[in-house]
């Protein structure tokens, strides 16, 4: 039983990280209508950025903030310079997705060309261990969970309480009508990529803190976790992605605790494949705008 509870504790921590990234991924798709495969590579970039900052003596949480800001700018720039011009030219979805895959590979191999192929580690960042009711969590895990909750709350308030958030949701529901109502959808999409980039960067560093070591090949794995969580919650649905992140985190940790950790990724992927095949529009999203958009 204690194995189970411990695994759940770890799962919640892992789920918080996944949710952080998945919400960014899903919001990006929901509002700008682009499935951005580069997301995983940008997360890896954030992890390495954090590593570089750490090695010059910056504190880990400051590194997280800087990386989040950096990736936010990179993400918005990526949209401005590549994706938006492509969309204006009328390049199809396949063309766009190929470009994001290619860009991901460019980033991945730029990282390895600069940082080298060896695995790196943030070292001991766990802080003290807290035990309560069978749960074992480290301070840093607790901080990350708090960070995720704060980010989710902020996003929730942004989307529901502000003019900008309403404009974002309007763009998501129907960009043509939104434009007709005087919403500058291009600007809204820029802001969206900025926000999702920040979430991506934060999640990248948070993931690097919680995992022991990582290397440049983690991009696709990161990406799959994000996709798994996003798809589970219904892609394009921020609240779905929060839930999905938690489910994926706890699910994989518990499953891995009882079998081999080598299969941890496989469970996440297996779950994802199953979802994609059986209910590709997600558990929660039956008739949402983004779900309809995906149907042929």
């Amino acid at each position: 039983m204690s194995v189970f509870i411990e695994a759940v504790g770890f799962g919640v921590a892992a789920g918080a990280v996944i949710a952080l990234g998945a919400v960014g991924f899903t919001v990006q798709f929901g509002i700008s209508n682009v499935l951005n495969i580069t997301y995983g590579a940008l997360m890896t970039l954030a992890a390495y950025l954090g590593y570089a900052l750490l090695s010059v003596g910056v504190g880990v949480w400051a590194a997280l903030a800087v990386a989040a800001a950096g990736i936010a700018v990179a993400s918005a720039g990526f949209n401005r310079l590549l994706i938006a011009p492509l969309r204006r030219r009328g390049t199809g979805f396949v063309g766009v997705v190929i470009v994001t895959v290619a860009a991901g590979i460019v980033i991945q191999y730029c990282i390895v060309a600069i940082a080298g192929p060896d695995t790196v580690s943030y070292g001991q960042q766990a802080g003290g261990t807290i035990r309560a009711a069978g749960f074992v969590v480290t301070t840093s895990q607790l901080i990350i969970i708090g960070l995720t909750v704060a980010a989710m709350l902020a996003l929730h308030l942004l989307l529901t309480r502000t003019q900008l958030g309403r404009a974002m949701r309007a763009t998501s529901a129907n960009p043509v009508v939104a434009r007709g109502c005087g919403i500058q959808t291009e600007r809204i999409i820029d802001v969206t990529w900025l926000i999702s980039g920040a979430l991506c960067g934060a999640a990248g560093v948070a993931l690097a803190i919680t995992t022991v070591t990582f290397d440049f090949t983690l991009g696709p794995i990161f990406l799959i976790y994000m996709i798994a969580a996003a798809v589970l919650g219904g892609i394009g649905q921020p609240y779905g992605a929060m839930l999905g992140g938690l489910v994926v985190g706890v699910g994989t940790q518990v499953a891995a605790a009882y079998t081999s950790p080598a299969y941890q990724d496989v469970y996440a992927f297996g779950l994802l494949i199953l979802m994609l095949l059986i209910r590709p529009r997600g558990l929660l999203a039956a008739g949402t705008a983004s779900a309809r958009r995906l149907a042929g």
Partner: protein, 620 residues
């Protein structure tokens, strides 16, 4: 390196058939190559224990090399189908690409983690060379020769798929799935077939590669390798087999292998590889941006009309009628030919076969004409909205039935339901005495229920005449027999079809546009093309969805004349139209819909006086 060129080429051709020609987004393609390699290995390695037991794997047979290659290719054919099945859900292309990417990454992870399957991340080694009996000094060149022979054979077989009627059908599926279904193409079947064939090429490529290298591990087939093949295709020319050859020379060979010859940096030996991938990624982006059609674009077949004497009874001058735009004279000879049914060149002469059959059937003994279509209690709900709410009506055989009603009455939905593009929630659809409600749309099209779309959906990258040719039913050149037998089996069919298509183009005054890509036609021409394509599909019941909307008066008149002539020849037409004048002139019976229900039925002149119809139009 020549061996790599050959195996990359096989793989790229297979992927080009899937992605370039048929538009199937298979980001998991490299998995099939890998499967070919692993299968070849375990079919030739023999039992693991006999090899000293230092690596673990399944099967462990000791087949002759040729049998192992063939078997690997065959199994990959099946795996290709299996991957194809996952793409059957009608999801957006980029979402499908994501699914495939996930499958690819998942496969690498599982094979890497499971040491019992193919020895995990360490991979398999000591895979026997298929030419083990040849003197090692000359073995390399022999291998090149074998691969060259297989590539040549592969190319010749591939051409059977990518050129001719089958290639045309596949391109049509790539351009617009729904439009392909509307003319009776079995899109699912075509896609699966393509993925099966693509699987064979992948399997061959993998088996030959593994036999040459002697080892195979997960690092050889990460998902990025699919991008390398894709880049080769995009750079060379999407959908063009010769272009792909050029692309493979440039991308995997010149770039990924070429960087190895750069001066090495001692401290970072892997830098060359990294550079190769970075260049490759940038190249992909650059090409998608600036030259998405590739260095050698897809060929545009010529069916030029000027060289061919007009022998369908239309005066030769007809062929020189300028492409018709808004200001065309009303006395245009095309219209004249349509209106008078000039000789055997009338529409019915061109598309005679099936209308004759239906008009024979439409001649019952009891005096009145039997309906060809019975719609009974049809219901379609979207969420809480009843788009069609118990619609019941019939359409007479050999005549034009009008379907009118205010916006949102459910007319287009009814067309969708009858043609099979929309699934009914309840109700029956009987076509020519047969219940068709459960049949998929392409089967209904083959029975003769052919629709047009409200917004024209032409196959953009195909030429105008190809748009017509592709629609013809029962082409032998599209069948497996056509692929196996080659051109001689279908050449005559093709010539006849081309003649028919030319005749149609002349009648509609679009002869000049025959070799134009359909995407470049004007809006009005696209609408005409939509109707012509439907006619080529051999309809017995033609469903026209607002064909006159946005047409220049001259074109509208031409279309009206065509409809009249078709009906006169015995074709049945169900016409959705807002222009009530047209409906009044053309239709014997008119069905009026309002809020999903049929509220009235009769002759247009009568209907104008009925209160419920007036109310619907004024209030609705």
């Amino acid at each position: 390196m020549l061996v790599y060129l050959g195996t990359d080429l096989l793989a790229a051709w297979g992927l080009n058939l899937e992605f370039g020609v048929a538009g199937v987004v298979n980001f998991a393609y490299i998995v099939l190559v890998a499967a070919g390699a692993y299968l070849y290995a375990v079919f030739t390695l023999g039992p693991p224990a006999a090899m000293g037991g230092f690596q673990q794997y399944i099967i462990g047979a000791r087949l002759p090399a040729a049998a192992a290659v063939a078997l690997a290719a065959l199994i990959c054919c099946g795996l290709g189908c299996l991957i194809g099945v996952t793409g059957l859900k009608r999801l957006r292309a980029d979402y499908q690409a994501m699914v495939m990417l996930v499958i690819s990454i998942l496969a690498t992870t599982i094979v890497g983690a499971d040491t019992g399957l193919f020895n995990g991340n360490a991979g398999l080694s000591l895979i026997p060379n298929p030419l083990a009996s040849v003197d090692p000094a000359r073995r390399g060149w022999y291998y090149v020769a074998v691969v060259a022979v297989i590539c040549t054979a592969g190319y010749l077989v591939l051409r059977r798929f990518t050129t001719g009627p089958l290639g045309r059908a596949l391109r049509a599926v790539r351009e617009d799935e729904d439009a392909a279904i509307s003319v009776g193409k079995n899109v699912v079947g075509l896609r699966l077939a393509v993925q099966a064939v693509g699987g064979v090429y992948a399997g061959l490529s993998g088996a030959l590669l593994a036999g040459f290298i002697g080892g195979w591990s997960p690092s050889a087939w990460e998902y990025v390798e699919t991008l390398a093949l894709l880049t080769a295709i995009i750079v060379g020319g999407l959908g063009n087999d010769a272009g792909v050859l050029l692309g493979v020379v440039i991308v995997p060979v010149l770039i990924l292998q070429g960087v190895q010859f750069l001066p090495q940096i001692e401290s970072a030996p892997q830098l060359a590889d990294d550079l190769g991938w970075i260049i490759l990624g940038l190249l992909t982006i650059a090409f998608v941006f600036t030259r998405p059609q590739g260095l050698i674009p897809e060929r545009r077949p010529r069916h030029g009309m000027s060289a061919v004497p007009a022998d369908t009874g239309v005066p030769p001058a007809e062929a020189r009628v300028p492409p018709d735009e808004a200001g065309a004279p009303l006395a245009d000879s095309g219209v004249a030919a349509l209106a008078t049914g000039a000789g055997s060149a009338g529409l019915a002469g061109i598309i005679a076969v099936r209308t004759d059959a239906s008009s024979a059937r439409a001649d019952p003994g009891d005096g009145g004409r039997a309906p060809i279509l019975n719609v009974d209690g049809l219901v379609k709900r979207y969420g809480g909205v009843h788009a069609v709410d118990g619609a019941t009506f019939t359409a007479a055989a050999g005549g034009i039935t009008g379907l009118i009603g205010p916006n949102g009455a459910g007319k287009s939905t009814v067309l969708g339901l009858v043609s099979g593009f929309v699934r009914p929630d309840a109700g029956r659809i009987t076509f020519d005495g047969r219940d068709v409600a459960a049949l998929p749309a392409h089967r209904r099209a083959r029975l003769g229920i052919v629709r047009t779309f409200q917004l024209p959906r032409e196959f953009r990258a195909l030429t105008t005449i190809e748009n017509l040719l592709v629609a013809a039913p029962g082409q032998r050149g599209e069948s497996a027999a056509g692929v196996a037998a080659g051109r001689w089996l279908w050449r005559r069919d093709e010539d006849e079809l081309t003649e028919a298509a030319r005749g149609l183009l002349r009648l509609f005054g679009m002869a000049e546009t025959a070799d134009e890509r359909a995407g470049r036609l004007s809006g009005g021409q696209k609408r005409m093309l939509e109707v012509m394509r439907a006619l080529m599909a051999g309809p017995r019941l033609l469903l026209l969805d607002e064909p006159m909307a946005g047409l220049a008066p001259a074109l509208a008149e031409r279309l009206e004349a065509a409809c009249r002539q078709l009906a006169g020849a015995g074709m049945s037409i169900l016409l959705v139209e807002h222009e009530l004048g047209v409906v009044e002139r053309l239709c014997e019976t008119v069905v009026v819909m309002h809020q999903g229900k049929v509220i009235s039925e009769g002759r247009m002149a009568e209907l104008r006086t009925r209160k419920e119809v007036q109310d619907a139009y004024v209030v609705g």
